[in-house]
């Protein structure tokens, strides 16, 4: 009887494990995509900082531009995240 219970639990576990490879890879992909966003937005922030240091009177212009460009870079990242989520939640 214990054998039967163990067999059932093992088969269920195998089922869950088989499904979770797709889930795991989807989650890993979604996480890796954030590396691109981090690099992109970091570069934008660094260059914006340098530009403000060179010309403090155009701070407002540079700040507005930097935020909009960061939003665009994030938009590209969200494609990859949505695809990863699609696989992780299937």
């Amino acid at each position: 009887m214990l054998n039967l219970l163990l067999q059932e639990a093992a088969s269920e576990a195998v089922q869950v494990a088989a499904a979770s490879t797709t889930h795991a890879l989807g989650a890993v992909g979604a996480g890796l995509a954030v590396i691109g966003a981090g690099i992109g937005i970091g570069l934008i922030g660094g260059k914006a900082g340098e530009a403000i240091a060179r010309q403090p009177e155009s701070t407002a212009d540079i700040k507005g531009n930097a935020i909009v460009l960061a939003a665009l870079v994030e938009g590209a990242t969200f494609f990859a995240i949505v695809v990863g989520l699609l696989f992780a939640l299937k």
Partner: protein, 283 residues
């Protein structure tokens, strides 16, 4: 914070032996985000079918956003022409003027901008109100649904195509897609690329807005789910973690408020740029 809610949930989680799922699709998810998911019923009332089409709960929130727009902008016309109105009206009037002078006229030109200004203003404020309604208690973000943002991007696509064909002539519009001065053997490939770009731009608008709105809610769901995950072991740990979790959720909601306005601005700015590129191609 609803004290009885947490207590009820802890009882449910303890009884189900942790099967309900902490951040997944068990009972905590229903309590936290049951009203956010697109469904044909709102607050327990099943919505009717109109002309054979089912009304969904997100449509009620869209209608609410439109009503809010009318309420907010009803006195703005008088404020711009006569200068009357209270502080809030003047804020909205200034917002409208800023959009006209910084977003629409530089990208679309003054002549066409005058005709298309109502569309861009409606787009911006509709998206803003929909995004902000999602942050209010018992509110749902209609723009978190890919169908709603797809519909808005379709509006932009139609204005791009129909406006471009009306401004330059139906055939010249497609010919002018490819920059001039391109050698003959490259022309077909560039034409295909440009048409693909024409389709991909509204698609990017859709995904950007949808993913930004959904992502914010998902992060908050994960944080709040942590609280229930810890409450599985013992209610005391759940209560102990809750100040931290609720604090982080409030912080995330502040960021989400900023992202709501920013994404509406990015959507409108990119729509204006795309429509301007179709109406007046520089090449």
């Amino acid at each position: 914070m609803n004290l009885s809610l947490l207590h009820n949930l802890s009882l449910v989680l303890a009884a189900s032996g942790g099967e309900g799922g902490e951040g997944g699709h068990g009972n905590p998810f229903d309590y936290l985000f049951g009203h956010v998911v697109a469904q044909p019923s709102i607050f327990g009332i099943h919505l009717p079918e109109v002309f054979g089409m089912q009304i969904w709960n997100l449509q009620i929130y869209q209608l609410l956003a439109i009503v809010l727009m009318f309420v907010a902008f009803f006195p703005v016309r008088r404020a711009i022409t006569a200068g009357s109105g209270g502080f809030v009206t003047k804020v909205f009037a200034g917002w409208v003027a800023w959009l006209r002078d910084e977003v629409v006229y530089p990208n679309v030109g003054e002549k066409d901008g005058r005709k298309l200004l109502p569309m861009f203003l409606s787009l911006f404020f509709f998206i803003t109100f929909m995004n902000l309604l999602g942050l209010v208690p018992y509110g749902a973000t209609a723009t978190a649904s890919v169908f709603v943002t797809g519909g808005l991007a379709l509006i932009t696509l139609f204005v791009m195509l129909i406006g471009g064909m009306m401004a330059q002539g139906p055939l010249k519009f497609w010919v002018n897609l490819v920059p001039s001065g391109v050698p003959g053997y490259l022309w077909p490939m560039l034409f295909v690329l440009e048409v693909m770009g024409l389709i991909i731009k509204p698609f990017a608008l859709t995904m950007r807005l949808m993913a930004n709105m959904t992502g914010g809610h998902l992060v908050i769901l994960s944080f709040l789910g942590l609280m229930f995950f810890f409450a599985q072991d013992s209610t005391a740990i759940g209560w102990g973690v809750s100040p931290l979790v609720v604090g982080m959720s409030v912080f995330m909601m502040i960021i989400e408020g900023f992202v709501a306005l920013l994404q509406a601005y990015v959507f409108t700015l990119l729509s204006a740029i795309f429509v301007g590129m179709c109406l007046h191609p520089d090449h």
